[in-house]
Every structure is written in structure tokens, then in C-alpha cells.
Symmetry: C2
């Protein structure tokens, strides 16, 4: 288990969409944590290039995150929403993107992971089939699956997952749920860890709203083997975070779950687009592709009102500092927090 | 500070509405934890009687929880909702209650706390005025205020609160927010603890979805001095939990936030009434009084579909067992969890 050999129980989240870079991942790995490259949204060729770059920066074992495709939906599901946001495209002087369905080259990316013998392959938005997990195992890869409730956890373990990434509702960016639906319970991270430790026995990596060493200590106390952290890395100089996104992360806005940008539930800092388009349907990746040109134009124009400003609920605690400094500070504060907690446990400690 | 003298850093939540009893509070106090009587919904005379009963059962310092009144709202706010639920009253063979505004005898209850020199007085639904806190301090009482975000925390500290009860979105029963509104951020507990430790320096008691000793350990690691636990005590024989509520707590239903029963956001297990009346407005305590006869009739008839089945997200982990056993198990598991976390922190620990 890779987690057993980690010097610092901190995992840099994949941060698909431009924020993660081989430089960021290498910095975390070389500082003693664990880090992921994001395959999501990229071509297999671009992912292969990222892997090559990472390998030139570090010899440490690393991870690659792959999206599991959603089921397709009928265009009638999202046609009214595309009409609603047509004016947004006009305002940016671009056309909406084609609302196409695709599988994000799932099969080719799994093949790439097998051929590259990627040490850890994690999956988000679903659970791969047992056969895919088996092929990765044969290639020497460890398989992690992101889950958000006990049912998903049991399904992932049944399919052969080695480790579960338990994602709480506090997390920034997309919810990792297998199916994005209204009639499901959105668990806070601490509850999710309690429920999963009662239901499954594989190692857990906690994610969602972890921004301090004290919170890393908390999830270890709750039974996790490590903390996966995304938002806290977004302001690092090594990250590919856009200028308007960095600006919003240094501000005071509230966060909220939204499907406005991509057709899948995700947490971002409130801006005009998010607030004005709160009725977006479940249609991923169709809405992701439709809004892509809008968001790209807004990033170039540094217009924060039309950019997806993904952030977890703890984002106000994130500082601008190099990734290695952040990992070191988390490790230091984690140790302090555990020692302090043992003191406060007082008479409860046996002996 | 009472928290410094606790043998076990577990606080039994007030559980207003019938679930808390002097017997439950005494059992927790005598087991080495801390416990609250609930003043909410009761007459000052009934609260005085509860205090007398508790004092006959234990000499330990105890707490009393008092509701801070909401602002009144115009009847036009809730009239359409009362029309909507009129059929529910017919179905139970009762009339809706009078949707009256009241302040839950706030002043008289503070007077009672002063005259009884209650060791700890906690407040929910708002922050008392500085003058009230001052009078309690003069009487020797420690004042705790329930908060759900950093703004409320800063207001409570400014008013003179000695301790903050930090309530996460995972919690069962009513949200403790000062004002119940849509445009606020609902923080998960672990994020809330991180934000509050960064903003204020008074001791924090963590609440919301804490059902295991590992979760108690987690909130101590995150900086809290103790864990306030409600739902896990609901199945204790000493609790006054109704039969349909106990039955639901042993089941598998999802929880959800709702205003359907009381006009204030609260988390309960989904049932027919909750799901069919999802558009209830903010109007507390008017809707609480209006639905009171309905809920009372349903409790007598053991009809779980019309009872407010308050429960936190970790409720499936609650067992039926005496309160002292639960407190002892939490203390034991807390110590184990902290020791285990220190092991997993591995190389991160200095020295």
C-alpha cells in the first residue's frame, strides 16, 4: 500500500481543468507527500506528456486520476438550459460549444495507465469495472476510487478498489458521486468517515474542506490514512490556476454547489453566472462542453463573473506559498494538533 | 472554565422537545461527561422542576439551554403554508394550532438561570445581549453560545460569550443559526472548526454528526475542547424519545434539512410530511405552534409519517444502550483513535 510508505499523510488532489501541473505534483512528491496528475479533460497524448514531464522532475511514485464516464442523456434534458445561457455567449462574443457526449477517452487512459505502470490510479465520477481494475492490478497499479456515501463505498470495494477516497460535501470542484441526483444524502466529511469505517475495511483517504494541519490530524483521528487536499494548493505558484480564480480565492465570497457550469454538481465561489443559472440540469459532460468557450473567453478577459471558481469551504484559509512549504507546514501542524488533542482528551485516555 | 474540569470531553446536547430528561442528563454527568437540560418549549416552572429533579440525582455542575427568540414575521409569510397543510390536520382529526409568535419566555428563563446560579447556560438561535450575559456572569454562570459561521462567532465573542458551540451542517434537529436564511453558507463541522480557530480564541465545543469516539478524537484534533452529542443519546433508555422516533432511528432513511415542521431549518429523517411540504417558509415559532397538534396526534398514533424525526447524519451509528455505557465507550474509543492517528501520522511527527 502506497499510503504505508508516505512520509507525510497528505495527498495533492488531481485538480483537473488546468490547476494541476507536473511541477505542482513533483513539488508535493519531493516534499514527502503524495500527488496526482489529472487525466480528466485532456487527450491521452497530453496525459502521456504530463507523465513524461513528471518523471523528469521526480523518481517518486505518483498517481493519475481518470474520470469514469456518466451515462448519456437526451438533448431535451439540456436544450432549455442552453437557450437560457445563449445570452451569456453573446455577451462574451463567442458561440456556445457543441453540447456533445463523450467518455473523456476512458479506455485509452486506462490503457495508458497500464502501459506506463502508473503506481496509483484513482477514479472519479464512478467505479471502473472489475476487469479494468484487474488489468491495473496486473500492471502493478494500486486502484483508488472516490466515493461519497456508503453504497458507493461498498460497490467500489466489491469491484476491487484498494483504497477509497472519501469525499465530503465541503469539497471544492465536482462532487465525486457515481450518479448526480437530488434524492441522495450529501454527507459532511466527518460523518462520511464514521459511516465508511463502519461499513468497509479498506484504507480511506479523506477529502473535502481540509485546509490545515489540524484538519489533517482530525481525519487521521477519524480513521483515515491520509488527507487529500485540493483547494489549499490552488494558490501555490506551481499550480496552473487562472488569474481570476486566484483573485477570487483571495476574497471573501461564499461557496455553493452548482451545476451551472458543467451539468454536474460542483462547489465554487459564488459569482454572477452561478447565481443566475441555478436551475441547470444534470447533463455532464454536455453542459461542460457547451459552456467551455464562454469560460475560456472569461478567463482570458479576467472576468470572474463567468468563470467556474471551484473552491472548497475552507478556501479562505489557503495562502499563496510554494507547495513544499505548504506540505511542510501541514506536517508540522498535524503533529502539534495530535499532541494537543491528547492533552485535551485528559482523563479519557486510559492509563 | 467547566471544560477544563471535564473527565470525559463529551457534552450531552440539550435535545429540546421531549428527548432530554433530568435522568439522561444526570446519567451523563455521573459518567464523567457534561450535560444540558433543555429550557426550550417548556414553561419556566417546568424548567425549575427539571432543575430540582436533576439536583436530586447528581451534585455535578450542569448546563441549561435557552432559546433566543427570532424576530416576528407577518402572517402573510406563512398563511399559504397553513392552507397547504390544512388537509394534514383533517387527516389526523385535529385542528392546526394557533400560529402565534412568542419569545419562549426568554426573560423569565434567564432570570431562573440567574436565581438558580446554573453553572453553564447555553443559548441557541441567536446571541443574548451583553447585559444578559453580564448578569449570568455575576451569578457565576458560564455562557455558551451556539454558532454556525465565523460572523456569528465574532458577534458572540463580542457580546461576552465564554465558549462557542460550533454546529456543523451534519447536526440533527434545528440549525442554531442566528437568522435562518437561504443566502448563507452551511459549513461542514470540520471546516467550521478550522475557520473558527482562525477567527476567535475562546474555547470551542464541536457539534454535528459526532457519533463515535473516533469522531470525538477528530474534533479534539481540529481544536475543539469537547464534542457535543445529541442524536447518539436519543436511543438511550433514559431519553424521552417517542416510540415512532426511536423506530425511525433504528431504520435506514436518509436525513434532510426541512422547515416543514417548525418554520426553521432542522435536520430529520425523511418521511411523508417532510417530503411533501418542502416549501415551508421561515416562520418560527409560528409554524411550530401550527403543526404542534398534528405532531402530537401522530406521536400518540405512532404514525412516523407526520412526526418530526430529528436526527443528525451519523444517526445510523447510534445504538440502544444506557447513557453511561455510551459515554464510557466514547471515552475508550477516543483514546484508541488518538493513539492510532499518531501512528498513522508517521514521519510527520517531529522528533
Amino acid at each position: 500500500m502506497r499510503l504505508d510508505r508516505l512520509r507525510i499523510p497528505v495527498v495533492q488532489a488531481p485538480l483537473a481543468g488546468g490547476a494541476s501541473t507536473p511541477a505542482l505534483t513533483a513539488a508535493v512528491l519531493n516534499a514527502g507527500g503524495f500527488g496526482f496528475l489529472a487525466a480528466g479533460y485532456k487527450t491521452p497524448e497530453a496525459v502521456a506528456a504530463d507523465i513524461a514531464t513528471l518523471r523528469s522532475l521526480t523518481e517518486a511514485p505518483y498517481g493519475l486520476n481518470i474520470f469514469v464516464p456518466d451515462d448519456d442523456v437526451d438533448s431535451s434534458t439540456f436544450a432549455p438550459y442552453l437557450s437560457e445561457i445563449g445570452g451569456e455567449a453573446d455577451r462574451q462574443g463567442v458561440a456556445l460549444g457543441v453540447p456533445r457526449y463523450d467518455d473523456d477517452s476512458f479506455t485509452a487512459k486506462v490503457e495508458l495507465a497500464v502501459s506506463e505502470r502508473v503506481p496509483v490510479v484513482s477514479f472519479t465520477f464512478g467505479c471502473p469495472e472489475t476487469a479494468d481494475i484487474g488489468r491495473l492490478h496486473e500492471a502493478g497499479s494500486e486502484v483508488w476510487v472516490t466515493v461519497t456515501d456508503p453504497n458507493e463505498a461498498q460497490a467500489a470495494v466489491a469491484a476491487g478498489a484498494d483504497v477509497l477516497v472519501a469525499q465530503g460535501i465541503e469539497a471544492g470542484g465536482h462532487r465525486g458521486c457515481f450518479v448526480d441526483r437530488e434524492d441522495r444524502e450529501d454527507y459532511g466529511l466527518l460523518v462520511l468517515l464514521q459511516l465508511l469505517t463502519a461499513h468497509v475495511s479498506v484504507p480511506l483517504v479523506a477529502s473535502g474542506g481540509i485546509g490545515t494541519g489540524a484538519a489533517v490530524a482530525a481525519v487521521l483521528a477519524a480513521g483515515a490514512c491520509a488527507a487529500q487536499i485540493g483547494t489549499a494548493f490552488l494558490r501555490c505558484p506551481e499550480a496552473g490556476t487562472s488569474a481570476p480564480h486566484r483573485e477570487a480565492l483571495s476574497g471573501q465570497g461564499r461557496t455553493r454547489l452548482t451545476r451551472a457550469f458543467t451539468g454536474r454538481s460542483a462547489r465554487g465561489i459564488e459569482n454572477r453566472f452561478l447565481l443566475e443559472h441555478s436551475t441547470a440540469p444534470v447533463a455532464y459532460p454536455q453542459i461542460h462542453h457547451a459552456t467551455g468557450p464562454l469560460r475560456a473567453a472569461a478567463r482570458v478577459a479576467e472576468d470572474p463573473d463567468v468563470v467556474n471558481l471551484w473552491a472548497g469551504q475552507a478556501y479562505p484559509l489557503a495562502d499563496e506559498r510554494p507547495a513544499a512549504d505548504l506540505v511542510g507546514a501541514l506536517a508540522h501542524d498535524l503533529a502539534t494538533a495530535l499532541a494537543s488533542a491528547s492533552g485535551r482528551a485528559g482523563g479519557a485516555a486510559p492509563g
